[in-house]
């Protein structure tokens, strides 16, 4: 039995259930990077990130904003000639850095992920007017105006409720979550 584990092995283990494993099966063709609609905002393209994982560049991978920028559109996964679920790899890296508190500072993703989860546990539904304001100012006034324009259009089409909505039987949702994770008294 192995006594230690390389960074590449660690990431492969995180995705141990995936067939084929996103790390080991990559042929570095770059189809994922060429397909990615948000690659321009990433520190490293998906192809580069996989190469870095395989080269064991732990710190550079963990500092990268690539997996937090992923829009989860799954185009890379659909187009990969090796059949690799690259979007799944991005989710795996998000989990890895959140669980170990190793993500780059100042990213929206980790804080947003927690705020979103808190809202879902409390109400069972996502309510954008509570989630969005904290991030409105990050792109300056132009960003605020853009967002207001989008919000206005959504509101006019009835897609932006002004009052929070929640599911019925929220207590049942919490009980279900307590059954999944060992929290809140004896199971």
């Amino acid at each position: 039995m192995a006594r230690s584990l390389s960074f590449t092995g660690e990431i492969a283990n995180l995705l141990y259930a995936a067939q084929p494993n996103p790390v080991q099966a990559c042929i570095q063709c770059g189809t994922c990077s060429a397909s990615c609609p948000v690659a321009g905002f990433m520190d490293h393209s998906p192809r580069q990130l996989i190469a870095m994982i395989r080269a064991g560049q732990r710190e550079a991978v963990l500092r990268s904003n690539t997996f937090w920028t992923c829009a989860s559109c799954y185009l890379c996964t659909v187009r990969c000639p090796a059949g690799i679920d690259i979007a799944y790899l991005m989710y795996g890296l998000k989990r890895y850095t959140i669980w170990r508190n190793r993500h780059a500072p100042g990213l929206i993703g980790p804080a947003f992920s927690r705020a979103f989860m808190r809202m879902i546990v409390r109400t069972g539904r996502s309510w954008e007017p509570a989630l969005a304001p904290a991030y409105l100012g990050r792109r300056g006034w132009r960003g605020v105006i853009d967002e207001m324009r989008v919000a206005g259009a959504l509101f006019l089409r009835g897609r932006l409720p002004l009052r929070p909505r929640w599911i019925r039987r929220r207590r049942a949702l919490r009980e279900m979550l307590r059954h999944i994770i060992p929290v809140g008294g004896p199971a």
């Binding site: 039995m1 192995a2 006594r3 230690s4 584990l5 092995g9 660690e10 283990n13 995180l14 995705l15 141990y16 259930a17 989990r95 959140i98 669980w99 170990r100 508190n101 927690r114 989860m117 808190r118 546990v121 919490r174 979550l177 307590r178 999944i180 994770i181 060992p182 929290v183 809140g184 008294g185 004896p186 199971a187």
Partner: protein, 140 residues
Amino acid sequence: MSTAKRLLIVDDDPDFVDGIRAILEGAGYAVDAAFNPRDGFDALQSRPYDLLLLDILMGRGAEGVMFARKMRKDARLREVPVLIITGLREQIAFLFPGEPLHPHLVPVDELLEKPVEPQLLLEKVAALLSASERRKAAGA
């Protein structure tokens, strides 16, 4: 033949495994490690272990919970004492503020939260092992 108790660690964090292994081997235990739940379950079935140290957050999520529930269904494995070592409070339990974490995933388990204090770890391991011995003696 060595009489050292044999322990298995199933945890996907190699740095944490190295630390825990050093503490346990220093106390005279024989320690094996598996870094994902599948390898861990295979190891558990391949040879008898006196105690399992199990992480919760692995792979796709709270897979340690699924691991323990799978053990509970196995007549032989459900007798293996389990020490759950988890950083769950920081990562997920913030959703349930003020509520305790509990083990009770298998009939015989205990829970320790990361970061682990070495002396407390050794005490819990010794207590679980001696309770297991007593159960075996009573059942024999």
